[in-house]
Symmetry: D3
Subunit: 243 residues, 6 copies
């Protein structure tokens, strides 16, 4: 399917951007990862907090939550600093809720103890796909934080069920393509973010027609691309973890 | 597929709740609709404002946006009033962004003139599916507001391309079912909201695994249910508009 | 006194608008009422919460409070949504404080137990007199919530001392008139809201000269009108409660 | 009527507290007044701003508005600083709206030119009656600001129609009394604030039953006391202005 | 050094403005002081609160904090009321943090007991140097509050180590001068605030080049001026306390 | 002076940490620098915006402003995200005001044209001295942004007068030391931040006694250390710029 499109990046329709995962990127967090998907760069940290929010207290289990931010000049033109504006945008809230849901789906919170894993994903350079890069990177940070908990003797064993990763797909110039960069994202008709586990289960599908509606057949093609891409991302995560 | 599940409501797996659409529900708005999907009741108004936001000014075109709210006691237990708390929740922002995107997909904004259609969806009683009911009801309100513009001589013809409606589907006790009510929604594993046009184009697909991940086969089954359900909803809209 | 004025509505100077009180309007709240005063429509709910604010804790008694809101397009032109703006207006706060004071005046909080009755008054259509309609409707909602507490065995007997209702009066074209609708309200010189109990005690009098100051004689005439109107409103409340 | 009550202050039932009005209290404002009503002390300034809010622009007329505040330790126990808390209380907003309405009632805004008189009333010591002292003091500040406008040649003549002053009255131990101080205010059943003009016209009446409802007869008695008290306050204002 | 400059006020380069300290200025606060430095007038109150912030709880010691505000028309042109705007400016926060640090430096918090001294500095008229006047005045208010604690038997002895006072210095028309008023402050190149104890220890030095950078020699000259000025201010504080 | 102190880092009393300045660190900003001072790492970007704030409009000149932030887990324990909390702390505001003032002191804004240089300093890892590292790094970012303006033909020549850099000094275990890291900063008695130009002019001196007050002699020693340190920092900046 993929041969005829001319992507701005020169990539094949089913090609991911170059992925780099740097563990222990900053020194304070229990898990700290720099993930680079092409020119998109996100610092993902996982902090272990010995407290839980009110709705979890007394359940014996733990919690995992996520926050997302973007440095004001991570983008082509400077965006307003959310801390200065006094509130997070709807987009920011959507993204951080998605990151949290995605990671909760692969962590057995009932065995985490009464503590919270707090993920922070901060985009230092944006070139499309910041929310999916955040999820893919956050998984490695959470892995490292859980490993730290085990090493410290705070958990008897890992509470992670399986890996999770995410990628965007879209229809660019009529052709389904994998892993949109900014140039493609801003020009494509349909944009879909897919979150899947290492074993191929779907955690989240969010597809949006930016211009013309899309068909079931296009949806199928996009899901196929995403599935193959996520398999590659999970392999990259596993490789990084083994280092 | 649907015969073996026992839904709390006694409905068949592929059955919608009773839908009622009341036009001209309140007297001031250019379009005003009460939509009832079973016990979920939403007032949807479409207001015509003779102004546009900054990013549209000077383009010659118009804009459409949406806001969503819920009366504090629309739900089983009283929720905090967002106006008193001083901010809208992330959930509210996600929903109102979804409503806006869905309706913009079927309105030709370039022909609307320099004006805004402002949708307000206010839930007065909630029993699951408030966001999809909002979209389905908002379409009728927008239709009436556009018809008003035409009658007033402010537009030469309708700027609506086709109808749009939305429904939720989910996997309840292992069985894909259509149009979740609250009892099902709070107990189901996977929840998906689908927005489609009258001609069957997909505008938005948002599927989330609340518990276990879901498979491609399940995704297909859910999409089939949604497609059939939306066709019925569009028929209800058309019938209401003809009254 | 009332014969010579020509009210936009055609009503006599001492005539109320048509009043309709619908109990059990929504299904979740312990008390839920739709009150319609002409074209003004307000949903009043009374929620029973098993907690009290800090200043009441440990006193053995309970509390009653109220919040007020207006759907953005309840009015001729769309008003900004307070939740989106991030704060309630001064007008909203004045009104909700008035509703709370008025209802507290007829409920024996010392016998309510350590719980709160939380009133929500949400205007779905506005045509003048929304705050007085809110008080009149909220009384019935509170009545139903207290009755529910008695039925559930949480209270041995009702804690309501007597009914309370409210009405606006004003000087329109030089003539004192009862129960102002929007057309009158926006054109009248003096506007007064009166809250009284079923036995004729005054709970609150708020009279404001919008244009020219008013005299003691005019004040007396307005109070007479209000007193007669409130007696009728209390009768309507009693009739609704008996249904 | 007044002889039998024993007021904490030892005053007769119809006696005002000692009133002192100091003009030109601070040096920057066009009008600046310290008003002392017994131990209640309020700085009232009137600032002339050469701009008007949006709803007045282009009407040819001007505007008058008011803000109210209280130093945190103006009261027996320290109150939270509203600037630190990030919002004004409902009480503050009610009071500043009342001050604005009261002063607008005696200023001919249509002749003020496209400018705003901005009143600030800041309580530096509170002992009951801060809102009524604010109105009485603000009148003198506005007078001085208007006089300044005339002196500067910005207005051909004063735009003030007549004086305005305010006082509280209440039922203390069953007896109607004038000008409540804090000890009385916190113990009385009914509290009423009355705003009247120099010629005896009523601008605002706000009576509230704190405990038991009050009767028409009590209301009359309170209004009589207020009317006599306001006449004395207006005389004090006139004396201060003549100095 | 000081003879050749012509200051707007006519003062010598090393001359303070007239200082007046009025104790017991308002009646409710445990310490209440009006400090006047020329035309700059600040009400400083010290309130004793029988509670401490979270980070102090359980340490056995107490806390001291400060808030700062300015009446809107304390200045030449009316400033926005911070309570109405909904947040304190960066300048306000800087100043109140400085006041708190300065006073904490001379109070032995470990012996205060589990209570807080809450300082409020409110500028009622501004003519330069409001932050340094606040510190100098706050010291006397804190002194009085601590004396009250001793008199009430809540503390066995004073917990104040020594006095603290503050003054501004700057380079005006090339000459170092003491105690800048507004006319000098707005025209000077370098502005420095110095906080020192009665025994000459430095608590805080904040020097800022508004225009051209300043040299070490200028810095020395400014510190000399400040040191002499603060000695005079401490003498004024001691005289006031002895009254 | 420096020999006898045993610093946690093993550095001599007058030794800076290792400084690394990486230009063009992110790709979108006109100037983008990563500055590392030991384990303190700050991304400093300078964005050119073709607009100015209101108080500069029409003056013909430009503006320079700065914002500062810290990733939540830049520190030992996770700090609250300011964007989530809805406001910037007083500390953040103090720092960003200091950065802005420091850079404005060396840029000739009158020749910048009607545009703004907007600096963003975001700490990705904190180990003491984040504000001074921000200033030192921001200078290089501003240099690059101005160079970009010249290259683009938007400015005829650089508008930077001279370099500016900053360092912290303090008294640690009784000994004045240069460039405090976190371990020293949290244990030292006196902390001073000094901002100086390349030619040795002082822009800002902010010295605070955290515990005991400090003497004039100590202040002199600290200034000497700072002066020598800043000379080295300016040399590092110049070396980086020449690369």
């Amino acid at each position: 399917m993929s041969s005829s499109v001319s992507r701005p990046s020169g990539r094949a329709a089913d090609a991911l951007r170059t992925i780099r995962i740097t563990r222990r990127y900053t020194k304070h967090a229990e898990g700290s990862v720099l993930i680079e998907c092409g020119d998109t760069k996100v610092i993902c940290t996982a902090s272990v907090l010995e407290k839980v929010p009110g709705h979890v207290k007394g359940t014996g289990g733990g919690w995992l939550t996520a926050e997302y931010g973007m440095l004001p000049r991570a983008t082509h033109t400077r965006g307003e600093r959310e801390a200065a504006r006094g509130k997070q945008s709807g987009r920011t809230q959507e993204i951080q809720r998605l990151i949290g849901r995605s990671l909760r789906a692969v962590v057995d919170l009932s065995k985490l103890g009464e503590r919270t894993i707090h993920i922070d994903c901060d985009v230092i350079q944006a070139d499309g796909g910041t929310r999916t890069a955040s999820i893919t990177g956050a998984y490695v940070a959470v892995h490292d934080a859980v490993e730290w908990l085990v090493k410290e003797g705070k958990l008897p064993a890992s509470v992670i069920r399986e890996p999770v990763a995410a990628v965007s797909v879209g229809i660019y110039q009529g052709v389904p393509v994998l892993d949109l960069d900014y140039a493609e994202d801003s020009a494509c008709d349909t944009d879909m973010n897919v979150v899947m586990t290492g074993s191929g289960g779907i955690i989240e599908v969010q597809g949006t027609a930016e211009g013309a509606p899309f068909s079931r057949a296009e949806l199928e093609a996009l899901l196929n691309l995403a599935q193959a891409g996520i398999a590659q991302l999970v392999a990259k995560q596993q490789a990084a973890i083994k280092e």
